[in-house]
C-alpha cells in the first residue's frame, strides 16, 4: 500500500503543477484575444467613464502579471471573480451548470464501460465468428464519426422519425425537484420522486448515448485486441486444462490482465468526453457548462473563461488520477512497486 500512496502523492503534485500551468496559459490567452471586456459587458450605450471605472475595478489597466497576482490571491480564497455576463460569482455559475454536464458524462461513461467492455469480451471469446464480425463492424462505425454527428443521427432516428425519446432538455417542465446536488437523477431519488427520476433518465439516454458511442467502440476494440493477446498466454491454457468454463475464462482469467493496458486509454477517452459534451449539449439543448462556456468566450467574460477552463482541466486531471489508482489496484506489480517483466 505504501507504494500506492507514493504513486498517488506524486500524481497529485504533478496534477497541481499542470493546473498552475493551465491557469497561466488561459489567463494570458484570455487577455490577448482582441476586444475590451468592459466595453462588451456594458454595451454600446455606456459612457467612457463607466467603462474606465469597470476596467479599474477589474484591474484591467495593470500589467498582466499583476493581474495574475490578484487572480491567485482570490483563488486562494475560493473566489473566481464575478462573471460580467451573469453578474454572479463565477463559482455560483459553475455550481449551477457543471452538475448537468457531469451527469451527462457520467452516464455516458457508464454506457462506455457497461456496453463497450462486454462487447469486447464477447468479440474476443468468439473470435472469427459471426458475433465477432458484427461487433467489430459496429465498433468501427462507432469510432468513425464524432459524437455530434451521432447526436444528430440519433436525434433524427429515435426522437424525430421514431419518437421514443424526447428531443431536448433534461426533464419535463411538469416536475419540480428540490435542488440538492444538482444531479437530477440523484436529486429525484433523494426526493423519492420516481416518476421524475424516470423522466430524467428518459431525457438523458439519447444525449449520453451519442456522447458515449465512440467511447463504446474504442472500449470494445481495445478490449478485444488486448484479450486476444492474453488468450495466447500459457496461463489461459492452464485455466483450460483445469476445466474452467470458457465463460469464466473470458470474464475472469483473460479479461482482468487485459483490462490494465486498456484502462489508460479509456480514462483519457472518458475525460475527452468533457470536450465533446460541448457539441452534444448544444444539439440536445442540454443546460450544462458547455452552453455557459461558449457564451462567456464569445462575450470575452474573462473571469468566467478562466474559471470554466480551470474546472474542465481539473476534471481531466481527476479522471486521470482515478485511472492511475484503478490500474494500481488491478496490477499487483505496480501495487508492490515492481517493474513488470
Amino acid at each position: 500500500m505504501r507504494s500506492v500512496c507514493k504513486l498517488l502523492a506524486g500524481r497529485v503534485a504533478i496534477s497541481l503543477l499542470v493546473l498552475a500551468g493551465v491557469s497561466v496559459l488561459v489567463f494570458a490567452i484570455a487577455r490577448i484575444i482582441p476586444g475590451d471586456p468592459a466595453r462588451i459587458a456594458l454595451g454600446p450605450n455606456a459612457t467612457a467613464e463607466q467603462v474606465r471605472k469597470l476596467r479599474e475595478q477589474l484591474h484591467l489597466d495593470e500589467p498582466v502579471w499583476i493581474q495574475y497576482g490578484f487572480f491567485v490571491r482570490d483563488l486562494a480564497k475560493g473566489d473566481l471573480g464575478v462573471s460580467l455576463y451573469t453578474n454572479r460569482p463565477v463559482t455560483t455559475d459553475i455550481a449551477q451548470f457543471l452538475p448537468a454536464t457531469l451527469e451527462l458524462i457520467l452516464v455516458a461513461g457508464i454506457f462506455m464501460i457497461g456496453i463497450g467492455l462486454p462487447l469486447g469480451i464477447l468479440s474476443a471469446r468468439y473470435r472469427g465468428r459471426a458475433v465477432d464480425h458484427v461487433i467489430r463492424i459496429a465498433s468501427l462505425l462507432g469510432v468513425s464519426a464524432p459524437s455530434f454527428v451521432w447526436a444528430v443521427i440519433l436525434m433524427l432516428l429515435f426522437a424525430f422519425f421514431l419518437p421514443l425519446f424526447p428531443i431536448a432538455g433534461r426533464i419535463s417542465t411538469d416536475y419540480e425537484i428540490a435542488r440538492a446536488t444538482g444531479f437530477l437523477l440523484v436529486d429525484s431519488l433523494l426526493a423519492a420522486n420516481f416518476a421524475a427520476f424516470g423522466n430524467a433518465l428518459w431525457h438523458i439516454v439519447l444525449p449520453a448515448f451519442a456522447l458515449a458511442l465512440s467511447g463504446i467502440g474504442q472500449a470494445a476494440r481495445l478490449t478485444r485486441a488486448n484479450m486476444i493477446e492474453t488468450y495466447e498466454k500459457p496461463f489461459i491454457e492452464m485455466a483450460r486444462s483445469y476445466g474452467f468454463p470458457e465463460k469464466r475464462i473470458a470474464r475472469r482469467y483473460a479479461f482482468r490482465p487485459s483490462l490494465i493496458p486498456s484502462l489508460t486509454i479509456l480514462g483519457l477517452d472518458f475525460a475527452a468526453m468533457l470536450g465533446n459534451a460541448f457539441l452534444v449539449e448544444a444539439i440536445f439543448a442540454w443546460p450544462g457548462l458547455s452552453r455557459y462556456g461558449v457564451t462567456v468566450i464569445l462575450r470575452k467574460d474573462l473571469n468566467a473563461i478562466v474559471g470554466t477552463v480551470l474546472i474542465i482541466s481539473a476534471a481531466f486531471l481527476i479522471a486521470n488520477l482515478v485511472v492511475d489508482l484503478l490500474i494500481a489496484f488491478l496490477n499487483p506489480r505496480i501495487r508492490y512497486g515492481q517493474e513488470s517483466k
Binding site: 485455466a239 483450460r240 486444462s241 476445466g243 474452467f244 490482465p257 499487483p332 506489480r333 508492490y336 515492481q338
Partner: protein, 293 residues
C-alpha cells in the same frame, strides 16, 4: 475397474488450415496403466504436446482440428462424451503441468485465490478457510516452508522453482487419477528442475497417480518413468520398459536420440552413432504416407 487409466487407440489428428489439412498424428496408440509413469519422448514437432492436449480434451473443442481414434480414460471414451463432460474431468480426475511455471500462473491473482478456484473444481461449495487449509497442507507436501507467505503472493513475487512447486501442488491437490506433465520445468535451470521433478516423483508415488510424462530429455525420462514410447513424426516408433529401451534401442531414431545425450566422458558434443540417412530432420508437417516406420 481394471481398465487402464489411459488407453489411446489409433489416434489421428490433423489441422485444417487455409492451405489444406496438415496431418500431425498418424495413429498413436499408447497405454498408461494404473499408477504407472509413462514417458512420451520425441523432438519438437513430433506431436507429443498435441497428444498430451488431446488426452485432456483440449484439442477436441478447436474448430480447426480433425480428430479420430479413441482416447479411453478409465475405460470411458472421451470422444463419446459431450464437451461439458470432458471439461468436468479436467482439473478433477486429470490435470496438467506446463513447461514454464511463471507464465502459466495468472499474474493478477494471488496463489491462494488460484488454489481456491482449483479446489472448487472438485468441491464447488468449499469455504475459504477449508480451501486455505487444504492448500497449506499440499504446499507443505511440496516442501514449501512458508505456505502462508506463498498463498498471499502473486506469481511474480516467487522464484521459478517456487512457482513450479506451486504448480505441482495445484495439479495434485484434487487427487487426479492422471497427471500429464508437458516438459515440466524446461524453462527452469537444471538444478531447480531436478529438485522439483524429484518432489513430483515422490508425490505421484505417494498419491498413486498415473503419469504421462512428455519430454525430450532422456536423462529425466530414465530417472522418473517405468515405460516409454518414442514418437517420431506423428507415429510411435518404439515402446517398452524404460531400462530395456535404453539398453537396446531398436529404431534408428531412438538410437539417434540416445546418442544426442551429451556425456561428460566424451567431448561434450553429441556424436551420432546412428546413420542420419535413416531418418529425416525434424519437421512439423509430415506426409501422411511414404514415411519409413
Amino acid at each position: 475397474m481394471n481398465a487402464p487409466t489411459l488407453d489411446i487407440r489409433d489416434l489421428r489428428l490433423s489441422f485444417a488450415g487455409y492451405s489444406g489439412t496438415v496431418d500431425v498424428l498418424h495413429g498413436i496408440s499408447l497405454t498408461v496403466r494404473r499408477e504407472e509413469r509413462v514417458a512420451l519422448v520425441g523432438e519438437s514437432g513430433s506431436g507429443k504436446s498435441v497428444t498430451a492436449r488431446s488426452v485432456l480434451g483440449l484439442m477436441q473443442s478447436l474448430q480447426e482440428t480433425r480428430i479420430s481414434g479413441d482416447i479411453l480414460f478409465e475405460g470411458t471414451d472421451l470422444g463419446s462424451m459431450k464437451e461439458s463432460e470432458r471439461r468436468r474431468l479436467r482439473g478433477t480426475r486429470m490435470s496438467m503441468i506446463f513447461q514454464d511455471p511463471v507464465s502459466s500462473l495468472n499474474p493478477v491473482f494471488r496463489i491462494g485465490v488460484l488454489f481456491r478456484e482449483v479446489l472448487a473444481r472438485s468441491n464447488p461449495g468449499i469455504s475459504a478457510r477449508e480451501a486455505r487449509e487444504r492448500a497449506t497442507a499440499v504446499l507443505s507436501e511440496v516442501s514449501i516452508r512458508e505456505p502462508d507467505r506463498v498463498l498471499d503472493s502473486y506469481p511474480f513475487q516467487l522464484s521459478g522453482g517456487m512457482n513450479q512447486r506451486v504448480m505441482i501442488a495445484m495439479a495434485l491437490v484434487n487427487e487426479p487419477a492422471l497427471l500429464v506433465a508437458d516438459e515440466p520445468g524446461t524453462a527452469l535451470d537444471v538444478t531447480v528442475q531436478d529438485q522439483t521433478l524429484r518432489l513430483m516423483h515422490r508425490l505421484v508415488l505417494e498419491h498413486r497417480t498415473s503419469v504421462l510424462f512428455i519430454s525430450h530429455n532422456l536423462g529425466i525420462v530414465r530417472e522418473f518413468t517405468d515405460r516409454l514410447y518414442v514418437i517420431y513424426r506423428g507415429r510411435i516408433v518404439e515402446e517398452g520398459p524404460t531400462q530395456a529401451v535404453f539398453q537396446s534401442p531398436g529404431h534408428p531414431y531412438t538410437r539417434a536420440l540416445l546418442a544426442a545425450v551429451p556425456r561428460i566422458t566424451r567431448n561434450g558434443i553429441p556424436e551420432f552413432d546412428a546413420d542420419p540417412a535413416l531418418f529425416d530432420a525434424p519437421r512439423i508437417v509430415h506426409e501422411p504416407t511414404g514415411d519409413r516406420p
